[in-house]
Symmetry: none
Subunit: 400 residues, 2 copies
C-alpha cells in the first residue's frame, strides 16, 4: 500500500498488535495422506484463532514468485519487497549480526578452488569446514586497502562476508561468481558511474586475496557476489506511527527487523520464551514481531513429520500469547516451505488476523484449505499490516 496514504491515516495509540511469523509456514499434501503439514498437525489454538478471526492466503511478492527470507519478511512488515530490495551482501551481513553502516558495501563471499589456469574447479571448495573458513578469514583480514576499512567475517562452511567501509562507496557492482565451474572468476564491473572507485578497491582486494590464498587446499581463491548497501527504507515509526519490537533468535531476522527500525529484544529459540519476552516488554512497544524458525528448517530438510511437530509445538505456545490480551494478532509465514518440495516455494501462505472487529468467515481451522475459504482470499502480504492497523483502531478515516 502507498506509504503516503498510510502516513495520512496512521495515528499513535495504546493498542497492541502481535505478528507471529512462522517461517516457511505453508506446505503441500503428503503423497500418502493427502494432508499438508498444517492439516496433519494438531493445532487447536491456531484453529480457534482462525475460526474467531479472518483468514486468507498471503502472497509475499507476486503469484509464482518464491521469496527469500528478506522479501518474505519485508512484505509482512508492510514494505513492498520489490521497491525495497535487500541485496544478498546486506542479508549475509545481517545474518551474522554485523553492524552494517549506511555507506558500507557488503558482499557474499565463497571460498573456492581454481586450477593453475584460474579456472574454477569447485565453487564451494569442497564444502570446507567452518574452522578452516575462520582461519582463512583471519588471513584475509591482513589485507590493507588505502582509504577504506576492510572487514572479512566468517559465516559458515565456505561462506564469508566482505564489507568495505569508507566515504562515497557504491554497491552498484557486478559479482565475480560465474555461478558455474569450468570458467574463470569474472572481473568486477561498475553498474553505475559512481561505482568506479569501488571497482578498483575490490579488484585490489581480490588480487591480494589470490596471493594470500594461493597455496591453500582446497580453498585457493574467493568469489564475491551480491554487492549491496543498506536500502534507504523509512522506519515503521515514521510510516505506521508505531513503536515496534522484534523477538527473533536468528540474527538475519533480527537484522531484517532492525532494517525497518524495530528494536531487537533478547530472544531464544523457544516460542514460549519469545512470548515471555513480549510480556516483559509489553508496555514499551505497541507492535511485536515474533519469529519462529523450526517449521522452515524442517521443510528445508524435507522432514514432513518434523515440520508437523514444529507446528504443533508452536500451537502449544499460543495460549501464552493470547493471555497477554493483545488487540490484534496476526499468524503468518514469510513464505511456504513444503517438506515435499524441500525448499522455499511460491505457494501462498496461510494467514489469520484476529481481533474484536473481525467479521468471521468460513475458515474453520488454520491450514491451506481453510484459509483459502477465508474472507481475505488470496491477498498481497503487504496488506496484512495495514489491515491489522485498522483492526487496532490505528487508522483514521480517509477523506471526508
Amino acid at each position: 500500500m502507498d506509504f503516503d496514504l498510510i502516513k495520512q491515516v496512521a495515528v499513535p495509540g495504546d493498542s497492541k498488535i502481535v505478528l507471529l511469523v512462522m517461517d516457511g509456514l505453508g506446505g503441500l499434501p503428503h503423497p500418502e495422506t493427502g494432508l499438508t503439514e498444517l492439516e496433519a498437525a494438531r493445532t487447536p489454538n491456531l484453529d480457534q484463532i482462525a475460526r474467531e478471526g479472518m483468514c486468507g492466503l498471503s502472497v509475499p511478492v507476486a503469484l509464482g514468485i518464491t521469496p527469500g527470507s528478506g522479501p518474505g519478511h519485508l512484505a509482512l512488515f508492510g514494505y513492498d519487497p520489490i521497491k525495497y530490495d535487500i541485496g544478498r551482501g546486506v542479508l549475509e551481513a545481517l545474518g551474522i549480526d554485523f553492524d552494517l553502516q549506511a555507506s558500507d558495501v557488503a558482499a557474499r563471499g565463497n571460498f573456492c578452488t581454481v586450477d593453475s589456469n584460474n579456472v574454477i574447479t569447485d565453487r564451494r571448495a569442497g564444502r570446507m569446514a567452518t574452522e578452516l573458513n575462520e582461519k582463512l578469514c583471519e588471513k584475509l583480514r591482513t589485507i590493507l586497502i588505502p582509504g577504506v576499512d576492510v572487514f572479512v567475517e566468517s559465516v559458515r562452511d565456505y561462506r564469508f562476508v566482505l564489507v568495505l567501509r569508507g566515504e562515497g562507496l557504491s554497491g552498484r557492482l557486478s559479482g565475480t561468481d560465474p555461478q558455474r565451474e569450468g570458467m574463470a572468476p569474472l572481473p568486477v564491473t561498475a553498474l553505475a558511474p559512481q561505482a568506479e572507485r569501488a571497482v578498483s578497491l575490490i579488484n585490489d582486494f581480490i588480487e591480494q586475496a589470490r596471493s594470500l590464498l594461493r597455496e591453500g587446499q582446497p580453498a585457493n581463491m574467493v568469489l564475491l557476489r551480491g554487492f549491496a548497501q543498506l536500502p534507504d527504507i523509512p522506519p515503521m515509526a515514521d510510516v505506521f506511527k508505531m513503536k515496534p519490537g522484534a523477538v527473533a533468535y536468528y540474527p538475519m531476522y533480527r537484522g531484517l527487523a532492525k532494517l525497518v527500525g524495530m528494536t531487537a529484544l533478547p530472544a531464544n529459540a523457544k516460542l514460549e520464551e519469545s512470548f515471555s519476552v513480549v510480556a516483559e516488554n509489553y508496555e514499551r512497544f505497541d507492535f511485536f514481531f515474533v519469529h519462529y524458525k523450526p517449521a522452515d528448517s524442517a521443510g528445508e530438510d524435507g522432514d514432513f513429520d518434523r515440520k508437523v511437530a514444529a507446528l504443533e509445538a508452536a500451537d502449544a505456545a499460543i495460549p501464552e500469547l493470547m493471555a497477554l490480551n493483545p488487540d490484534v494478532v496476526m499468524i503468518a509465514g514469510d513464505h511456504s516451505t513444503p517438506a515435499t518440495y524441500v525448499a522455499h516455494s511460491w505457494h501462498p501462505v496461510p494467514f489469520a488476523l484476529w481481533g474484536k472487529w473481525c467479521r468471521k468467515d468460513d475458515a474453520q481451522g488454520f491450514n491451506e484449505r481453510e484459509c483459502q475459504r477465508g474472507a481475505l482470499g488470496t491477498f498481497q502480504a503487504t496488506e496484512a499490516l495495514p489491515m491489522a492497523m485498522a483492526h487496532a483502531g490505528r487508522f483514521i478515516k480517509y477523506g471526508a
Copy 2:
C-alpha cells in the same frame, strides 16, 4: 482501472445500468445473535438479485482504509479515490449545494471560542445553535477583500463554508485549526509557492472576522481547515461514453455526482420515489446513480434494529427498480457502517452485479457472508463500473 484502457473500449449504447448505493451498507455481527444487519434483515428481493447475479465484497480505497463518503462514492463511479482527492472544503461546499467554480478555494469553517490571550477554549463554540450560526455568517458576509469575492455559507451548528472566488487562487494551504483546545489558532501557510497570494487574502479575512466577532458569545473567532479546490476530474461522459443521471436526496451526494459530470435529478428521501424519478427519466440517461441514506444514518447512531429496518425498507422498493427492466443493476455500498462500530469502517462492502450475462456463483443471499462466497471475491470498488459496462454490452474487445 486505467482510464486510457476504458476510453479505448467504451462505446455509447442504449443499454441501461442502475447503481444503487446503500450508504454504510456493510455491517458486523450483533453480539447476541451473531448475525449482521443484512443477515438479520428480511430482504427477499436483494437475495434474489444476489442469487441470480454475481456477488463480492468491494474495497472502496484499500484493505484497512476507512473511507469518507467522497472516496467511497468516487470509487463506485469508477474513479481512483486516491488520485482524485476531494478536499474537505470542497465536500462541505457540495454538501450545501454551493455552486463551486473551477478556481474557487473552499474551506470548512468552525465558529469557536477563544480567551483574551487568543487561546482556543472551545473548538465548537458550545455546539452553538444553527440560528446563531446564520446570524454570524451574515455578519461575516460584510467582509470585503480586494480582488476576490467572499462567500460565507452557514452549514449547521458551529459549521460554515468559506469560499474565495477570484483569478489565480490556489487551495494548497494549511489550516488554522490546531484540532485541540488550549492552543492559539495556527497561521495559514502556503503548501506551494502559487498559494502565497491566497495566504494573505485569507489572513485578511481572518483578521476582519476576529474584529467582527470579538464581542460574541459563545463564538468569538473562526477556525478554517480543509482548504481545497475542485479536483480536475474527467467527466463520465468522456471516460465511459455514458449519459449519467443522479437521484440523490442529500446535497453532498448530488455534489459528488455532479463532480464526475452526472446530471442531478430531483429526489426525495424515499427509495420508491427515487426509482420513480429513474422511471420518469429513463430515456434521457443510460446510467443512474441512486443514493439511499438511512442505513448509514442508523449505523452511525449505533442503532442495529433501525439499520435492519432501513435495509428491509430498501428491499421493499427493489421490485420497482426491476420493473424498469434495466440491463444491469449494481447493489453496492460506499463503505461499511456497522451499528456495533457506530461509525464508518474499513470492512469490505457487500456487492451484487445483476444482468443477463452473469455467471451465477455460490452466493445464496445478499449479506456479508454470502457475498464473500461470490465470484467477485474481495475486489476493488473501482472495478465495479467497468464490470457493469461489460455486462451492458458497452465495452468492445481490447486488442485484435
